[in-house]
Symmetry: C2
Subunit: 208 residues, 2 copies
Amino acid sequence: MSQDLFLNHPITTKSFAIIDQEIGQHDFDALEYKVVRRVIHSTADFELINSLSFSPNAIKKGINALKKKTPIVTDVTMVKQGVLSLVNKTFKNLVIASVNQTSGSNPGKTLTETGLLKCCNTYPRGIYVIGNAPTALLTLCQQILLNKIQPSLIIGAPVGFVSVLEAKQALKRVNVPKIIVQGRKGGSPVAASILNALITLAYKNELP
Amino acid sequence: MSQDLFLNHPITTKSFAIIDQEIGQHDFDALEYKVVRRVIHSTADFELINSLSFSPNAIKKGINALKKKTPIVTDVTMVKQGVLSLVNKTFKNLVIASVNQTSGSNPGKTLTETGLLKCCNTYPRGIYVIGNAPTALLTLCQQILLNKIQPSLIIGAPVGFVSVLEAKQALKRVNVPKIIVQGRKGGSPVAASILNALITLAYKNELP
């Protein structure tokens, strides 16, 4: 997500037109496609069209939560940076990076995981955007299974080679509105671009 | 680049072992491969091994500049966030995001471009890390052609569909130490992971 790209910036419009032309066949509905297109825009990786999945009404639920100024919890600061500019220009939700919520070390846990547990207590119905740490996503899923939290939406896009597939499998199994980037791919710009697409949809009032 | 991943974190070691196993044939030398591996680690995108190119001694020159505490200039704040943690744990170079160096609008120019011009004046021999804005990279190349700056290293990894290939072509033509992610792909984590790989190499004293 470029920090120069405002809603309807001419470079964005031109990029979207190129993606529309090159994308080929797909099964996404109109709203889903706007999210997919933004992800491709931020990565130039058309392979991601085969990885994105949406639970029923995830986009609509995410949009409603954004409009209600639901706090947004990210795993790492790069994801926070990727959404902050558009959030501040639109619904001005609180944006919290889990990794910054803790300074102490917790044996056997990553900083992101420890910080995320703290956020779960404070924001049990938050919008959670995970672009990096599979441990954060696994922790989120455990908290849902324990009935401790009920997030308004989870964007599950950690990236990498260790625990990433397991974390995404765990997210598939819990009952929560979710948008998942399946497989090993994901990352901060992917997670941020999914949320930015929802903000744009919400702000443009494209939903009844 | 995970903010949980310190040098030699066991998850990083395990991920690197998986990449070593899966990468197959390539022509990179030992130092280059450490950069390539870190890029794949941050994206899970093996396709990038075909996109990365290094000018002669770019890695060695980048490492020397890092050790001399040369200021690091990024285009956007996501790239800054991606490198800040490791920089602060190692050589403590100044890290500046161009986009934050200007508040005024400059007709026909992006914020990043205007901010970058300002950074060129202040840090003519800086390490420039571009992970998003092709306009920033084009501006950098113009300043080199005008003999106004001589960066210690340019990491050219903007992403997208408009002006990105042109900016990378321009970088290829100027005489400067450079690491380029060719094609449309790139992005903040890619740019950050290239610099983080160099920091790790420099800090571990892997060079004579």
